[in-house]
Amino acid sequence: MREMALTLTVNGERFSRTVEVRRTLADFLRDDLCLTGTHLGCEHGVCGACTVLLDGDAVRSCLMFAVQADGAEVTTIEGLSKRDGGLTPIQAAFQAEHGLQCGYCTPGFVVSAHAFLAEHPNPSDEEIREALSGNLCRCTGYQGIIAAVKRAANTGVSS
């Protein structure tokens, strides 16, 4: 199987690796870089659990090959919070509103919410629902998730 060299920045750290060209970005992040917070829920681009930031945009890491991220700056769920265990205001809002249960879809929602609120600091309820509609959750009925994004927006935090 053909391999290619790639260099990219993930959560502020620079990595150079040689990978099979067919390796997905999600598998590369999870297995090669051991960043297992990025989850795979469908591997066909619908559920959003594998969402990461690629040069600031929310993308599905299961639908990209790792080599397509050559030269890019990637932020995963592990890169959002502080290393001392502190939560970002958005993560804290998810906890306050019980926006998660099993937690499997949660990294995808949190990453999507960060990207969304960065561009839409004062969203309407409809905009919040629309923005979250690319992520699937099976536990919460979305109630706590919508409330969390609303809470984060109302407290004026976009990061």
Binding site: I77, F94, Q95, G103, Y104, S133, Q143
Partner: protein
């Protein structure tokens, strides 16, 4: 009820920080050195004979460590039936398809390779030749005497039958009825769909004959017991660990055939094997749910009082059901009258094999007692000309009727269906909505309102499900560790059990750790399913905490030279009531109990540990009333849920936010099932909805805001709690179906259950001649 200092408080979940920061550890994140990845060759034919199977090319493919077929694994299967289940014929013990295939997705071969990419490459190289036969798909045709058999070895397609017994009183009630109402309610096939698919890692050490298994399961002890039978070895040779689990909803209660194959492959290879299911496999080959129908009759007198109900229930259980051959009949039968006073009840059930994916429990697997009866109530109301709310009020079980003995002789107590009916009707402004509906109809808009009542037999406790144990242990530094046989898959067990311990022991939740999901650390437990955690684990934890508290008081009384009656505990400190300084911290008591035990009173045993195994009554009833309103666009068939209210009674709440979270999730699974989700097979038995592009889950855009009202009537157990994990999913389907049917009343359509997608709605309107 008055909340305690910790019990009843909506505190934040302690599970959350690590899950929110990507530090959860699910089955696919578990690293076992030397593990190989497995992938399956699965049948693409619903029913057929395997006439050729060549694995030679796959065996020599890059990175492949083994390819196993039925010939390798099936002879190694010892026992597959499950202790505690009713006697019934079981499907043959075919781990992998042997001579024939019985549904699309049936596992034929397992490839074990260096990684998943190479394993899937090798699967492509296996040559399989299947001579297709006409599949058995329709439950009515399958019950014909001449039908082909799904499992010829079993000799029937109806492995479990509950006959309708002759009952002259029931017949008399129908003969004398002023109103006779009939309906057939269907529930189509849909799927549990945990966001995390299944997964298992098995590591057999041939030297010390020990098996270690990591499993995405709802029950580590269930997995251990099952694997001991499968392999014919002792439970003491098996340790099962549960990592974080991304939802189960019933699908992960028992190991399935592909998971057996992974374990058997690991024992053959003597090295760890890992299998992480992909979404297509999960949708096609894991397990399905619902797919049942019930012919219902109801007799009422001239006042609209129900005198009898009869239900004849058929379930499609697919080819390999995770419960063996069982349908849900044994748990539908006793509760068919749901929340109503019904003197006579008749019930029959048949579970039917077909060449489709097998059935597994799904949140409220026995829900037809509510889904069926609640739709029948609305049909009756329309037929008699009474509002459905009024018909329910005339028949619902009221406080003055309690304890109420069902025709099945089971007794319901401490339930509040009438109160929840009134609270929900008030929350949604039922009368106001009727006025709004009338105005809208004049404008050509079709609004509807639907009610779903349910009494949930929560915490079903018989056989191996009847008990749970807790160890509450304080160490020498005064910190607390709790050992539980639970296997939480997102139910906040850690948070809520900390609340129970903190309340009863008198310390901060931060000083408590919960250990679960490990057979080596915890006593036997049936696991996290069946709305049982609050009742079973909660009461076990409370009793053990009280016992430990008592010991702390005894030790402190001796050390402080005070009477136990004069002592109190707060904030991790025992003190003499009314004094500021006379007291001892838990840390000091821990030092005394473990290090300074020579100073303990004579007869006082060292250490600080309490064990309690709690046995629950067979049922702990909770109840709820759901009411929703909707608008149906009769041009597009689109249903929009306008408002959704739930009034529920789960007894004493441990954490209201956790209670509401369970309701929210259940409600959305119910309305998703009715309106969007549909696992469809074509006439050849091919699943047509094998991705999330075809199998539609509700998103944040489709769900309404769900409003919840609470009524707290304590259950008879010491903690006063009731289970409520399933009620949200049990009551919601009928509420949604009834709302749609109500909206379409002007068209004179007959709504008989689900699915209610746009196509079905437009077809119904067309069929009614509009």
């Amino acid at each position: 009820m008055t909340a305690g200092r910790f019990m009843g408080q909506a505190i934040a979940r302690t599970e959350d920080p690590r899950l929110l920061t990507g530090r959860g550890r699910y089955i696919a994140d578990v690293v076992v050195p030397g593990a190989s990845d497995a992938a399956f060759l699965r049948s693409e034919v619903a029913r057929g004979t395997i006439v050729g199977l060549d694995t030679e090319a796959a065996r020599s493919a890059p990175g492949v460590r083994a390819v196993f077929t039925a010939a390798d694994l099936n002879p190694r299967v010892h026992e597959t039936s499950l202790a505690g289940l009713l006697e019934a014929p079981y499907p043959p013990k075919y781990c992998l398809a042997e001579k024939d295939v019985r549904f699309v997705g049936d596992p034929i071969a397992i490839v074990v390779a260096e990684n998943r990419y190479l394993a899937e490459d090798a699967v492509e190289l296996i040559e399989v030749d299947i001579d297709p036969q006409v599949p058995v798909l329709d439950v009515d045709a399958a019950r014909d005497r001449d039908s082909d058999l799904v499992h010829p070895e079993v000799g029937t397609n109806t492995p479990m039958v509950i006959p309708l017994f002759d009952d002259p009183e029931l017949e008399a009630a129908f003969a004398q009825a002023a109103h006779l109402v009939r309906d057939t309610v269907t529930m189509h096939r849909y799927v549990q769909v945990p966001m995390e698919c299944r997964g298992i890692i098995a590591d057999w050490n041939p030297h010390d004959k020990q098996l270690t298994v990591w499993s995405s399961t709802q029950s580590v002890h269930g997995v251990q017991a099952f694997l001991a039978g499968l392999l014919g070895i002792g439970t003491n040779q098996i340790r099962v660990l549960q990592p974080d689990v991304g939802g189960g909803f019933g699908q992960k209660t028992m190991l399935m055939r592909d998971e057996w194959a992974v374990v058997l492959a690991a024992t053959l290879l003597g090295r760890p094997v890992r299998w992480i299911e992909d979404r297509r496999e999960n949708l096609v080959a894991a397990a399905h749910a619902r797919d049942e129908k019930m012919d219902l009759s109801m007799a009422l007198d001239g006042d609209g009082t129900i005198t009898a109900i009869r239900g004849e229930h058929i379930e499609n259980i697919g080819a390999y059901q995770t419960m063996g051959s069982m349908g849900s009949g044994a748990l539908v039968a006793p509760f068919l009258s749901n929340a109503y006073k019904v003197p006579k009840v008749g019930y029959a059930n048949q579970a039917v094999y077909t060449n489709t994916c097998g059935k597994a429990p799904y949140r409220g697997p026995f829900l037809m007692y509510a889904v069926g009866i609640e739709q029948l109530m609305d049909t009756a109301a329309r037929q008699i000309g009474i509002d459905p709310l009024e018909l329910r009020r005339r028949n619902v079980i009221r406080t003055q009727d309690l304890p109420y003995t069902l025709p099945s002789t089971l007794c319901m107590d401490a339930i509040t269906p009438a109160e929840t009916l009134d609270q929900a009707a008030s929350m949604i402004d039922y009368d106001g909505f009727r006025a709004e509906q009338a105005v809208a109809r004049k404008q050509g808009r079709y609004l509807g309102i639907g009610i779903g009542l349910c009494v949930e037999p929560s915490a079903i406790a018989f056989g191996g499900l009847a008990t749970e144990a807790a160890v509450v242990r304080m160490d020498h530094s005064g910190k607390v560790t709790v050992l539980l046989g639970s296997s939480s898959t997102g139910m906040s067990v850690t948070t809520t059990m900390k609340q129970v311990v903190a309340e009863h022991l008198g310390c901060a939740p931060e000083d408590i750790s919960i250990v679960q999901g490990d057979t080596a650390a915890t006593g036997y437990g049936a696991g996290t399913m069946g709305s049982r955690s609050a009742v079973l684990y909660g009461n076990a934890v409370a009793a053990a905490s009280i016992e430990l508290r008592s010991k702390l008081l005894d030790i402190a009384a001796d050390a402080l030279e005070a009477a136990v009656e004069d002592l109190d505990i707060d904030d991790g400190r025992v003190f003499v009531r009314g004094t500021a300084t006379k007291g001892m911290k838990f840390a000091e008591l821990g030092q005394l109990a473990y290090m300074g035990h020579d100073m303990l009173a004579p007869g006082m045993r060292p250490g600080l540990e309490a064990f309690h195994r709690y046995k629950a009554p067979p049922f702990t009833f909770s109840n709820a009333c759901h009411i929703c309103t909707c608008e149906v666009d009769v041009d597009t068939g689109r249903v929009t849920i306008l408002r959704y209210v739930v009034s529920e009674d789960c007894g004493r709440m441990i954490n209201p936010k956790v209670v509401e979270g369970q309701i929210f999730g259940g409600v959305v699974q119910g309305l998703g099932g009715v309106l969007y989700e549909h696992m469809i097979y074509d006439d050849d038995g091919n699943p047509l909805t094998s991705t999330f592009v075809d199998y539609l889950l509700p998103t944040a855009c489709e769900v309404p805001t769900i409003e919840v009202g609470h009524i707290e009537s304590p259950a008879a157990n010491p903690l006063g709690v009731k289970g409520m994990g399933e009620g949200g999913a049990i009551a919601s389907p009928a509420a949604v179906v009834n709302a749609v049917a109500d909206a379409l009343t002007p068209f004179g359509v007959t709504v008989s259950g689900s699915p209610l997608g746009p196509k079905q709605i437009l077809d119904m309107i067309a069929t009614a001649g509009h």
